[in-house]
Symmetry: C2
Subunit: 379 residues, 2 copies
């Protein structure tokens, strides 16, 4: 589905041009994907047809679009639109535009298809370089309008979770798919134009961080892991929480508390200048010290903005320092195969003093009572 | 959403290996996308994490997957699974696997991200070549199980359209978005696990082949163009039809009849050995002869299978001969800016004698009566 994206795109392109000059790049080449949204303010249609934004080191911008899509990308301040029609050689057209100023080095964004890049390389003497640090990294530090958009999405995600817990009735006896469908319905009601995923994993199914639900009927005393994300008015929200009907097994509560501790410690570690990997290490150390290091099988978090996943990556090896107004997830987990899993995910923003959570849902296991359909939070 | 794909994947990989040998390629490198589904029988999760299938000219296959996704890709006959964990260098791991047998030429599928290809090129002395003709073209000629899957999807699309026309009531007075939501609901009821698009364009909005709907309230005597597509059990269906409440303006009927003629003539032209572009030319000639050549702004059709759009492209410049069991759309259109548009789309399969339509919905404007909510077809 199409939706508009708030448009600070002119300023974004000027900052990109500065980065290009600093890195001695002549062009940035940005294919259809979140980067295109960010630098144009228009959400692209991603298809097999070539659609690309070009930004020069001088700050000039143009885009090359399929003729039939051209109306979607008109009237972007300072962006000239070139088109190609079905049956024409789109790559030759792109090469012609790029080669005009005899470029030496061209930065390419990650999502640009190899099917476009390979024939383009054959039609240009320029060096094509991975532009992640120049192009994609520009999206890290959020502008004021973007922060508003991310807060808006986070609040809507919180409302979906609250309304779900209030209305779903006893989890026990329902299937994972039925719960997924209820969340989808609530997300649509809240105005999400894209649903990125809705993962519902009960009991052992919660031991995979990628379980998309099944016909499994949920039992009493069985913890259920919910993770859902989507796009609202151009910005993404994402959350992970656990709920249960019946009693929380003591073993599970103990596991949960370790993850809660790790999540809180990672959150407290955040401040400008601290490296992304140090946040990951903080969460990982606590889980490892509790004896579950081998069962925390993914990075601690990911940036979020005009994409559900974007830089900064909160992962070992990423020495990038965190900066003011970066927005990302903190979502440590423990997954015991054939048994169960825990993950707690919040979206947070880096502030001058440390960090704030955009996600406001309580971080406790939600106990949904079978009889009264009343919701309580386990302490 | 995940769903399984019927698995003729072992045979597919063997045919691919033959093509690689014929083209003197050492490896095919297939990123997350429809090609991955086709050659593994598993639908990939497309993210920023490297997931790739490798098929050698000897027919050996392996895949490199993110550790946390690995459970999704286990137990594919004849495919060894390697993993990489968050924080590890996935590209170095891929280069290590590829470089083992000192390859000279590596075919890359179109959807592989440049963000993976560029650093890989720097870590290998092999030549990376666009693999479209070797890899993606393999999907053209459908296997028996695939034809069953495509028939199944086409019938479900027909049922959605029929049920929509039977139940939507008068179009006049409703918004485009309301009609879109009704179609979405029916598609979900029919079991579509992915909705690719639902375009609803009334009056002048029908003059764009990419109008995704709006809050516009539909008027009486205003033609509405509907185009929707989605994935059912691993295969895609796609249709375009027109409906109206009230009377069909004589000018519109005349325009519609030209497109209907072009669509039928293109369909009649199909047989094994005829070039893809000749089908496009047939439709285009009829529309041009009627004086609307400049208003048919896109190719005549696209292949369909494990992707909504795939080869063969029914477009000028594609001299590829059509072959038995190729499946594609035939969807000529006329778009008069600020006025209205017409498009009629069927999915067809090439047979020994010519072609058959998988789409069975009547190709006439559906008149939905305001009073009786009765549906009739205009002749």
């Amino acid at each position: 589905m199409l939706h508009t994206v708030p448009d600070p795109s002119f300023q974004c392109r000027q900052r990109l041009a500065e980065s290009l000059r600093r890195e001695q790049m002549d062009w940035a080449l940005i294919g259809a994907g979140p980067g295109f949204s960010y630098f144009t303010g228009r959400r692209p249609i991603i298809t097999e047809r070539l659609l690309v934004l070009l930004v020069s080191a001088e700050g000039e911008a143009c885009l090359l679009a399929p003729l039939l899509q051209a109306p979607l990308y008109q009237e972007i301040e300072g962006v000239e639109v070139f088109t190609w029609a079905d049956g024409e050689d789109a790559i030759a057209r792109l090469a012609e535009i790029l080669n005009r100023n005899q470029p030496q080095r061209i930065a390419v964004n990650d999502e640009f298809y190899s099917g476009f890049l390979l024939p383009l390389q054959a039609q240009s003497t320029a060096r094509f370089l991975r532009g992640q640090d120049v192009i994609d990294a520009a999206r890290c530090q959020k502008q004021p309008e973007e922060i508003v958009g991310l807060q808006h999405a986070a609040k809507a995600i919180d409302r979906v979770w609250q309304r779900f817990c209030d209305s779903c009735g006893a989890l026990a006896g329902q299937t994972e798919f039925a719960l997924r469908d209820r969340i989808r319905h609530l997300m649509q009601q809240e105005g999400f134009s894209e649903i990125s995923w809705i993962d519902v994993g009960a009991g052992a199914n919660g031991a995979s961080s990628l379980h998309h639900g099944s016909e499994k009927v949920i039992a009493s005393d069985e913890p259920v892991v919910f993770d859902f994300a989507g796009c609202l008015d151009g910005y993404y929200g994402d959350i992970c929480r656990v709920a249960i009907t019946g009693n929380i097994p003591a073993d599970y509560q103990a596991l949960y508390d370790i993850v809660l501790h790790a999540q809180e410690a990672a959150f407290q570690q955040i401040r400008p200048g601290v490296s992304a990997e140090s946040i990951d290490l903080t969460a990982r150390r606590i889980i490892a010290q509790a004896g579950y290091g081998d069962y925390f099988t993914h990075r601690t978090g990911h940036g979020i903005g005009v994409a559900a996943h974007e830089t900064p990556w909160i992962v070992k090896g990423n020495v990038q320092p965190l900066g003011l107004n970066m927005v990302f997830s903190i979502e440590p987990g423990i997954y015991l195969p054939q048994r169960w899993g825990v993950r707690i995910e919040d979206i947070v923003i880096v502030t001058a003093e440390g960090a704030q959570r955009l996600t406001q849902s309580p971080r406790l296991i939600v106990v949904i009572d079978a009889a009264a359909e009343a919701v309580s939070y386990a302490n």
